[in-house]
């Protein structure tokens, strides 16, 4: 219950923040731009492909590359959305309200997390609803893979939010929080490049490469190890944040 109260306040704070509106608008605009470019490219390419008898599909040639692009943009934009979360509470002193209330550190952190999750779900659900609508209207593609890709995006957003909250719990500086979240997320994103190598470097790449895990999901292949990867990132990030909040009682 306390989690929901905190999440509700959090969401309310996002909705009255001009900064969040501007960042959201930029995020949606760039996504829209890429969507138009990918669809435009596809319509040209598909007519040529038909002449040579090649197989093309909306799912693999529009949805998958588009969702991949959104994923990368998400990684770049998420730190801007999450940097306030706990850093602002620490710098303005409002954290004292939460710490002196009958609320546990877990409830504080989960409240922040659920609030961000609602924000992302709303942003995708409203701001990017045009994607399934247009594809359903103008093509006969199946909607299930699109829904799975959408769910994958929400899962990625959840992981980015958790990492962002952990970064934001470190200090009262929002700049530091954004920078730290960027470093962590970009590492996770490009760690996949290491899988080109042999041996332990390659293993790191296979394990931590968020891109590979995300790609599998966007193809509509729901595998337990990919879901587990994101679940673990979320759990450990929130654990770090919870520990940081708890240290306010001890230091």
């Amino acid at each position: 219950m306390m989690v929901l109260h905190i999440a509700r306040r959090e969401l309310g704070a996002y909705l009255v923040s001009p900064f969040m509106w501007v960042v959201s608008a930029a995020f949606l605009f760039i996504n829209g731009f890429f969507f138009a470019a990918i669809v435009g490219g596809f319509s040209q390419y598909s007519s040529e492909a038909a002449m040579y008898g090649q197989e093309v599909s909306i799912a693999s040639d529009v949805v998958a590359p588009f969702v991949g692009t959104v994923g990368l943009l998400l990684v770049l934009f998420a730190p801007l959305m999450t940097m306030r979360s706990l850093a602002e509470e620490q710098s303005t002193g409002s954290l004292a309200l939460l710490l002196s209330s009958p609320v546990s550190s877990w409830e504080i952190v989960l409240g922040k997390f659920v609030g961000l999750l609602c924000f992302w779900t709303g942003l995708f659900g409203i701001g990017m609803a045009y994607v399934p609508l247009l594809l359903a209207w103008f093509s006969d593609t199946a909607l299930v893979p699109i829904a799975v890709a959408g769910a994958a995006l929400v899962l990625l957003a959840a992981a980015c939010s958790a990492v962002g909250i952990a970064a934001s719990s470190m200090s009262g500086s929002q700049m530091a929080a954004a920078g730290l979240a960027w470093c962590a997320l970009l590492f996770l994103w490009i760690a996949g490049f290491l899988s080109e190598f042999q041996g332990w470097l390659g293993n790191i790449g296979d394990t931590f490469g968020m891109l590979a895990h995300f790609d599998e999901l966007t193809k509509g292949l729901v595998q337990s190890n990919d879901v587990l990867f994101f679940a673990l990132i979320i759990f450990f990030s929130l654990l770090v944040a919870q520990q940081r909040v708890e240290t306010h009682r001890w230091r």
């Binding site: 306390m2 109260h5 905190i6 306040r9 309310g12 704070a13 009255v16 923040s17 303005t92 002193g93 409002s94 954290l95 004292a96 309200l97 939460l98 710490l99 002196s100 209330s101 009958p102 609320v103 546990s104 306010h248 009682r249 001890w250 230091r251």
Partner: protein, 315 residues
């Protein structure tokens, strides 16, 4: 309401609070008095359960603050030095949130928020963003937040710091109103504030309890300090000094001006007799000088008292 037994809180090797013990009764107003850095804020943060003590025991309303911190926090309202407000919320939305996370549910909540707004006289600004309020109003929002869930215990850390004299008076009146409904602990380094609002005083310095909790009179006794009465007389004669010195309890009388005399005393309170005797010489004014200021300075400059519970220690 509060029992504190040999509370110690260290930051690294520095003991911000060192072996402090005291108790606070139901419904009383206790003032924490001490210079900046004395350990007032640290003690208060331990009381509200937002800081864990290094050692010692703290009970609020019978609940152990360290072992059962969440339960203890239900009974406490806390105003930190900086009011813990979300500036982008309206006063009402903020107080509603504060009530929610203190576990005030459903139908009760609106009534309690209304009552908090009413008590802190925030009615005119309840729909405004906290960011747009003056410092005095923000401080009142901070107090409203502390009492919205009607806790048994209110802990106010320097509730009047940084306010102008009119605002200070308002906050004092407010604390006077709250007296009786809540047990109140407030910290300050302003002496007149203690006299205006508190039943008893606890003086701390460098993390040690120096004196109290005690009333001003008890403090005077504990510290062995005298009382000074300053008289202004219309017709002072040569026999004034002899007449006043004859009164039981008066130690000395000194002339400090043409018409002013300082009467110092220890032991029995001679004020009534002094005033009666002085009226024969045209008493214009009689007031207690020194008092708490003197007591405070004496207490703070004195070497720290032995830590509580360390009775065996050889001096």
């Amino acid at each position: 309401m509060i029992e504190v037994v040999s509370l110690t809180r260290r930051y690294g090797s520095l003991a911000a609070v060192d072996q402090v013990s005291f108790g606070v009764d139901d419904g009383e107003v206790l003032g924490f008095l001490g210079p900046n850095g004395a350990g007032k804020t640290t003690t208060m943060r331990v009381l509200v359960g937002s800081l864990a003590p290094t050692s010692g025991e703290v009970r609020v309303a019978g609940v152990d603050v360290t072992k059962n911190s969440k339960e203890a926090r239900r009974h406490i309202g806390y105003l930190p030095e900086a009011p813990p407000v979300y500036r982008q919320m309206t006063v009402r939305a903020y107080l509603d949130f504060a009530a929610r996370i203190r576990g005030v549910s459903g139908r009760d909540r609106n009534a309690k928020v209304d009552r908090a707004i009413d008590r802190t006289a925030l009615g005119d600004v309840s729909g405004r963003l906290i960011d747009h309020l003056s410092k005095g109003y923000r401080q009142r929002v901070g107090i409203a937040q502390a009492l919205v869930h009607e806790p048994k215990l209110l802990i106010l850390d320097e509730p009047t710091s940084g306010l102008d004299p009119a605002q200070v008076a308002e906050i004092r009146d407010l604390i006077g109103d709250l007296k009786g409904d809540h047990t109140i602990v407030l910290s300050t380094h302003i002496l007149s504030e203690v006299r205006a609002t508190c039943d008893r005083v606890l003086i701390i310095n460098k993390g040690r309890r120096i004196a109290g909790p005690a009333t001003e009179d008890q403090l005077r006794e504990q510290l062995g300090a005298g009382r000074t009465i300053r008289l202004e007389l219309a017709r002072p004669g040569d026999e004034v000094i002899a007449a006043l010195e004859a009164i039981d309890g008066v130690d000395a009388v000194t002339r400090v001006g043409d018409t002013r005399f300082d009467v110092t005393s220890t032991g029995t309170d001679p004020r009534e007799a002094v005033n009666a005797a002085a009226s024969a010489f045209g008493l214009l004014e009689s007031r207690s000088a020194g008092g708490l200021e003197e007591l405070y300075l004496r207490a703070v400059s004195a070497p720290a008292a032995k830590p509580d519970g360390d009775e065996e220690q050889v001096a």
